[in-house]
Symmetry: C2
Subunit: 230 residues, 2 copies
């Protein structure tokens, strides 16, 4: 596939530009360590996951939402019998996560450097703005991006708004990301290009089993393969 007439390339942030999901997995492990006197680890994980999902409409995405879900799940798991110090330790897990160093994924910087000569690059993320701005700052990747677009949900309607907001046609837009469900499928649906760069860990909620045959779709192993398409 050679892609023509592109104007704007959107990049997902977490696990596309920098590593994120492994930190959530680590946090979940620490959470299980704190709670394992109450339940087997597998059940703790299920309880936390179901709390996160039921809280999504109210809390949205991001680490603060995750912290609140951990506290609620812990109270539930303990049968309302949770030592208050465990609440403090859960808060510490989240605070450490908010303060995590940013590890940029291999070749990302080189790719952005090349692409920004020809295209307007934006970050499209459903994370928390403060959090994502801090990560962008720490990552050293800020100079390559025109701006960050925060969306509450990555569905076709929000991508449509983004296209309108960027003042371009969908066919001038390409999205690069690690989630088929959030970064690729809704963009293909509105007529843009979608480049899937899988990351080794994907949050269960983002996982989909599907074969995509859209000619505007491509899956690559390494972000650097984008450069061969341009």
């Amino acid at each position: 596939m050679k892609i023509k007439n592109l104007k704007v390339i959107g990049f997902d942030a977490d696990d596309t530009l920098w590593i994120n999901e492994p930190y959530f997995r680590e946090a979940e492990e620490s959470f299980c360590d704190l709670m394992e006197s109450f339940m087997p680890r597998h059940d703790i994980n299920r309880a936390l996951f179901s709390r996160e999902i039921s809280n999504l409409p109210l809390y949205g995405y991001g680490i603060k939402a995750f912290m609140l879900s951990m506290i609620e799940a812990a109270i539930h798991i303990s049968g309302r019998n949770l030592p208050i110090d465990v609440v403090s330790k859960i808060i510490d897990i989240g605070r450490r996560q908010l303060d995590q160093p940013v590890e940029v994924i291999e070749n990302v910087e080189y790719v952005l450097q090349s692409l920004q000569k020809t295209y307007r690059l934006v970050i499209v993320t459903k994370g928390d703005l403060l959090d994502q701005e801090k990560k962008l700052e720490k990552s050293g990747l800020a100079p390559y991006f025109h701006h960050i677009e925060i969306v509450s949900e990555k569905g076709p309607a929000n991508y449509q708004k983004l296209i309108k907001h960027l003042d371009i046609q969908a066919s001038h837009f390409m999205m690069v990301g690690n989630s088929l469900k959030s970064d690729i499928m809704p963009v293909l649906e509105i007529g843009g290009y979608g480049i899937h760069v899988p990351f080794h860990t994907t949050w269960e909620h983002e996982h989909v089993d599907i074969k995509i045959t859209d000619p505007k779709f491509r899956q690559i192993e390494q972000i650097s393969e984008i450069l061969n398409m341009m």
Copy 2:
């Protein structure tokens, strides 16, 4: 003052378009009710406020940040001796706040209706995107706005970015809001217009004592007075 050559009008959201701060005051009262066996109410309020301020760089603004600060403050106030049910009750305070109905301030809809015929209207807020989108939806004001701009901090640099992003000059931009510190002063600083509509309750952190003499500044009592300036 007659304002000419305007293209875009930015509106702060909370306590400019709809009522917000009284709900935080109410939440603080409920928090004091829960904690008053540990400390006098005034000291509880001080402890909560100082926790919120010290958490701002890590948590940012919004109700989830407020919930986490309440929990941390409560653990501290209780001398690490907090019954776990109080944590649940604090979470309930926040959840109720997230689910609050939206009360649009008097005359706001009429003013937006008039202005949107001539100007592009945007919301500029440092709240949480999901939260603000939900409020905008509930308020019925969504049709009047081009989009929501979420900023992590309302300083001159972020307004400058916004102006660039909107593809206009600062002199084509006017900001309307209830906070001199966040909505007005930084906008005047970069050369835009600032219209201050004080709200009866202002969060202590937003309060400034200052006389502004900038010719691009005006303070009004009622949002409907904007229509006389155009």
